[in-house]
Subunit: 269 residues, 2 copies
């Protein structure tokens, strides 16, 4: 490619294949945002169906039950990242993510009263699931577990740059939430604002986290190779979220083949 | 359950939930075989479609390309298991699996001329794929990579009993091969015996390996907990193989939604 072609005009894959010069921080950010525009799971048919009001209650339950496995793994993922850093300032900032999901300990103040995992269980209960079955993770699709495992493995075994860059899907989540919450409230009569309370604090937590991570990634990625690593990490993370929806769509929408042992909505066989 | 109910009459899931007594080796073997009867991927709709002659060439290519990722990981999986054993006799026996897949080194004699990975590439080439693209693994479905990663993680992080028991899908593979090879030769005119040469040595390698692993598993699993672990390991392995076909079916059969960046058969968009 001509090296002066604007980065944001390239597909993420073209970019990965073609660039060999050091991007400016603004160009790197543009390339990362391009990954989201192409590959973030808000563009997946399952999410489009959800936002259009097209999910049955059983399909909504399957989504909540499987997504719980991802939610439950996030603080473990963040603890792996904490465990790999030598820098107390980094760890203090990154630790907020764990507090956000696990909630405050007795006597801790300053954040939300309930953590994200508890809020997600409220959502699961609100769509009619038994909380204990959700928490057990026994009825999730194996593909969900494999995708979540791939995320834990990525942050454990790659560079810290890759581990941090893989969190940058948070750049895009407020857009998805902004679409999803009003759509769900309008189109599913059993869904209330309380059911969706998970998403409210995410609207300020995610941008705070994404800003921190983006500043680190643009500072640390100071060679073309590292910039490619950062972009590749975000692509892999998008693949993980996308694969989770592929598995849901396959099992519960079309063709609707639930793998042995996985959740079956009431009234189906 | 009444503890004298025959194990083979239970579904694998019922068995896992219900048994609390030590099974005889014959009962444990029956329970393991029951897992295969219920969950081995030869029962998956994608394999049934393949055997019925219903795959397009592009779908056959997608299968060969994705399955390559699994084949390529097998010697790494077996090397992890080697690395965890203190017993030279065990390692000598288990090492045969690596030789089977990687082929003999210069000056080594006694096995097949070509290893399984090279034979799989012959299959991939025979169905019209570019070998370099297959070897790169770049165009595989992310879900394939996550399932393969889950297998490597299972043998690395679980007990040796679980690592060895997860290989027991080899108990069932000769049945699948016995169905698949004649069906593929009869129903796809571009598939020849040479294309399918991967499967010929597997018909004696797999039973040899399965017999060794089954003897170890029945000897090592000397408490009800360990027997449950062994059965659970085989269920997880079946889940891994099943999830790979779910992803293929979703992307290339129905609904046919290829994830971003993955292989697209020629003539599709």
């Amino acid at each position: 490619m001509p090296s002066d072609r604007p980065v944001a005009a390239l597909s993420a894959a073209d970019f990965m294949a073609a660039t060999d010069r050091l991007l400016t921080p603004a160009e790197l950010e543009a390339a990362l945002r391009r990954v989201g525009a192409e590959r973030y799971h808000m563009h997946h048919p399952f999410h489009r169906l959800m936002n259009a009001g097209g999910l049955t209650r059983g399909q909504m339950q399957a989504w909540a039950l499987n997504r719980y496995c991802y939610q439950a793994a996030i603080p473990r993922k963040d603890a792996i990242i904490l465990s790999r850093s030598d820098d107390p300032a980094f760890r203090r900032e990154w630790r907020k993510r764990i507090v956000d999901h696990d909630g405050p300990a007795d006597g801790e103040h300053g954040g939300e009263k309930d953590g994200g995992i508890k809020r997600w269980l409220k959502l699961a209960e609100g769509v009619g699931l038994d909380v204990d079955r959700v928490v057990s993770q026994r009825y999730a699709l194996p593909a969900t577990r494999f995708a979540v495992g791939a995320y834990l493995d990525l942050v454990a075994s790659s560079s810290m740059l890759v581990a941090v860059a893989s969190s940058l899907t948070e750049l895009f989540s407020p857009i998805a939430i902004g679409e999803r919450v009003p759509a769900m409230l309008a189109r599913y009569d059993y869904i209330t604002e309380e059911t969706l309370s998970y998403f409210t604090p995410r609207l300020h937590q995610a941008p705070r986290d994404a800003e921190h991570a983006l500043a680190l990634v643009t500072a640390w990625a100071d060679t073309p190779d590292k910039q490619r690593d950062a972009i590749g990490a975000l692509i892999t993370k998008c693949d993980i979220l996308w694969a989770m929806l592929d598995a849901l769509h396959f099992a519960y929408v079309e063709p609707g083949l639930v793998p042995p042992g996985a959740f079956r909505p009431a009234g189906t066989d």
